[in-house]
Amino acid sequence: MVLRFTRTAMIGLLSVLGSTALPSVAQQPAAGTKVEQITGLVGVKAKAKGSLTLENGNLQFTSSKAKANVPIDSIEDVVTGDDSQRVFRGTVGTLTMFAPYGSGRFLSLFRLKLDTLTIRYRDADRGLHGAIFTMPVGKADPLKKALLSQGAHTSIPMLNSPGSSEAKPDAVKEKKP
């Protein structure tokens, strides 16, 4: 009797939990890659922060204020690189330059490494566009790989050697200063 009650209770509990849990999984948006769009996307301000996702054959940039889609098959070139930026940027960064005893210069030494992703694509009128994104280190190569697997083109192909997905031939190695 007790066993039967426990079983019924468990089934009831699971069904309640399942009905609440399943929709939350289904509605969870694709995480995307946190990026900063430096320039190039139509309708998006320069230096806009947002996320890049690959959805329905589009490279989608979503920020709090704007959304832009680039059809992946219109991408003619994808190139990755790296860069760095100050930890203290913007207005605060500028103000630190006037800090006393050269402390602003000292703060300039603190820098954050970044990956860059540069794409070239054509619009409906065949007009050439370019867009530059910066993102945390290690995010650009997987994104490039995903873009290439979905039909984007590149002038610098990636070499898929076992053990190192990011290895590239020396002759065409992308810029890593």
Binding site: D77, V79, R86, R120, R122, L128, K175
Partner: protein
């Protein structure tokens, strides 16, 4: 009689010199710039100089953005845009990178005097048939504030001003 011959010879010499000077002036002076209702910007070329992709794209995008911002043209067409072929008085801007030096933002901010980023670009404006209309060497640089890509904005502002002053319908010249 001698005097007549002397005067005639001198006259011929002066006339010849005048024609030669006119011819030389025509060769040296660039063809007169004409007004255009639209401009097409071709992708920045850098065959001889190794230019990072982000600099190439940044030069191109900033150039288009600055030309649109300056105004004076009804349309600013991108490389490959097939709508540009229908414009009769189109001016085409060809840009070739002739020099590039990637500096360091950190060096600029720490030392003030080092770390300059600069890019030298040869700008050639042609008409629709490819005839040269104007040629200039321009450069973009960032000396102190801003990242390395800011040099491309500096170049774009200069190139847009050059295009506006020489070809825009509402320019003063």
């Amino acid at each position: 009689m001698k005097r007549i011959l002397y005067v005639t010879a001198v006259s011929f010499l002066l006339l010849g010199a005048h024609f030669k000077l006119t011819e030389l002036r025509a060769q040296v002076a660039p063809p007169r710039a004409t007004k255009a209702s639209a401009i097409q910007v071709l992708m920045i070329q850098s065959d001889d100089i190794k230019l990072p992709a982000e600099f190439q794209i940044s030069l191109y995008e900033n150039l288009i953005h600055q030309l649109e911002k300056q105004g004076g043209f009804q349309h600013v067409y991108r490389d490959g845009d097939h709508n540009a072929t229908a414009v009769p008085d189109l001016v085409v801007l060809h840009s070739t990178v002739r020099g590039f030096r990637k500096g360091s933002e950190m060096a600029r901010q720490v030392t003030t005097v080092a770390g300059k980023t600069s890019v030298d670009v040869h700008c050639q404006f042609t008409d629709k048939d490819g005839k040269n209309v104007l040629e200039r060497e321009l450069n973009g640089k960032v000396m102190f504030f801003g990242g390395n890509l800011r040099a491309t904005l500096d170049f774009a502002k200069k190139a847009a001003k050059l295009a506006h002053d020489n070809f825009a319908v509402n320019s003063g010249s």
